[in-house]
Amino acid sequence: MVTDPALLVLASLADGDKHGYGMMLDIQQFTGIELGPGTLYGVITRLTKSGWIRPMESDDRRRPYRITPSGRAFLREQMTELDHVVKTAMRRLKQA
């Protein structure tokens, strides 16, 4: 299971814009992992600074975030690598 919070946030935003609480609920739904507010905003800060997600304009205090093209590319690359690992492991398991 992918447990890197940054990847989880990117994976959550790949589905569409979400605010903090929306991401928490979404991540919990698709992984069962409950990210704490401190962890989530640590990741959001990092990803925003690295330019992989960006905040959207909002009148509400709850500011939604959107994944950027570079963030999407990074996520895709990570998932490809992960997929490679999974396929290799599955193949080896079958051989054993």
Partner: protein
Amino acid sequence: MKRWIAFVATLYPRSWREEFGAEFGALLDDVRPCWRVFANVLGGALKMQMTTGTNWLKLAAATAIAGVIVAWGLSFTVAPQYVSTAAMSITPQPDPLRPTPPDVLRQRAAEKLAQRQTEILSRYDLSKIIQDPHLQLYQAERQRLPLEDLIEQMRRNIRIETRPSTDGGLAPIVFTIAFTCPDGARTQATVRRITEIFIQSSLDEQKFRDAQYREFWQDVSRFEPAKPAPPPPVGEIVQVLQPASPPMASASPERVAFPAWGLSTGLLLGLLAALAMRWLRGVWQTWFPAALAPRLRRPHDFWFRRTEASAAPNFLSAVIGVHGRLTRLSAAPYFISPGRNSPPFSRIPSTSFDRASQFCSF
């Protein structure tokens, strides 16, 4: 709990709060407040303090505050302690048979008090008190701890102190007996029991002295029947001045001691962490400059990836070409993979490194 969480959220750096504070507050409004959230936010604040600025003073202050909060919270998990106190006195009495200076009598009474105190705190007396079915002390502890440990615990919980006095001679020596225990009613009963033991041992001694005295004068009267017997010696008189007080919640030194302990521990840990971070940074820059090689995401990946043939050119270009330019990145615990088909490091635009370094700073 919500207020506590809101408070620890203020421990985030100001610059961060200006940027994310409002939405973070909105998120905290949405989540269910609990200790886990509290700890998570506190941890996030500390981490953010460490990573933005890495000011050792800030770090130490943040860990000290965290230590105070955690220790103060812990102090509430400690069961309240009740104290009951009794005041007693021991008064030296003149000896009709052997006239003795009052100061010597007083000294003798003080020694008697010290001896009684030793007896009370002896294994024999304390085990009797602990096993007294009327008192039922340390019920839960008796299930899991040996009697010796309970005796030691009770010895620590009993305080017998002599009140300072400038009176000399035959003036009474006043002393107090205090016992601390989590059960109020038992605390008072135990102090009452200890005062009884004091009184009883004094009476026993008096009885013993009287018996010896009677025996002696019976022997004397056989030889000199006409000689009248002098009044019997009294020894010391032990009195209860103030019976065991109703149990009072102890002055709760834990509420003060715990945060003080947390403050000092937090401060120390913060300073140690700052030193460790500096040391690690130095080690990192010395030993892992090549860890900037492309496609390395974690420090330990370095040793794994370097064995891959495909990574070798990138690895070399990283070491030879841009080592000097990128050493600031080598301190970062995380590394970014530019991608399988990415250009060598020397051709990556500097903006990418800036971006990467921002990410890597965590």
